[in-house]
Amino acid sequence: MDYKELVAYMVKSLVDHPDEVEIREIEGEKSTILELKVTKEDIGKVIGKHGRIARAIRTIINASATKSGKRVVLEILD
């Protein structure tokens, strides 16, 4: 399961500067951490009002991680 690719597809389709989207995947034993970095102007586009967009992205990641039983955490860096 490629969580990085899933997040990259969604985030790059949402922002104005898809070329400047960076995602780092840190894989642990029980959990995977995804560190997402976008430009300053785009940060609102991945977080949304009251964090609504970030929450939706996390829900979608978790649904695809259900089968593996792994915890996948999305961290948005600023």
Binding site: E5, L6, M10, S13, I57, T59, I60, A63, S64
Partner: protein, 214 residues
Amino acid sequence: MKVIEIEGKTPDEATKKGMAELGIDDPEKINVEIIDQGKSGIFGFGVSKPAKIRIYYNDQVEDVGNKAKEVLLAILERMNLEGGVKDLKEGENKVYIELESEKSSGLIIGRKGKTLESLQFIVNLIVNHATGTEKKIILDIESYRANREKALRKMSREIAHKVIKSGRPWTLEPMNPFERRLIHMSLQNDKRVTTKSEGQGIYRKVTISPSSGS
């Protein structure tokens, strides 16, 4: 918006011809105006006149539906979930997409519909961003929405009954605007209770209270 004029033996035949010419197979995507019904010339006598129609077709409309389908399938594929589009209906302001999945419909819906809700939200954002339209895309799978609606109506009536009996208000769990509206609507004609939404954002909840007069 495209407009074409077509002639045929009957208005129906002309419509079919026009759709073939435009390459559309869904009659809901076009508007047909009949200019002339035409005359068939009974038993070969009389003058036969072809029917004439005008077809209005919004070519941008199709872009949104197709884009939505493309985005949705791309996300499902990357989620590693099998699923496809069973039906797609496109209106002037809305696109309705019905999904199907043999094994993963439960995962696509998620707990209390959260995943379906998130997918719908993200697909709307991406498609609006890409096409510059504000068309609302609605996702459904295995009639989840209709069933959820039924369940919510039933639940609201049951809880209203408890509230009337006990005389104490009851606060429901947080719901999205659509679901809250449904609760208000389903109880608005019941004079024995009142409904009110309270709280902020995702924590907004409906409280069902006994009417003060009773």
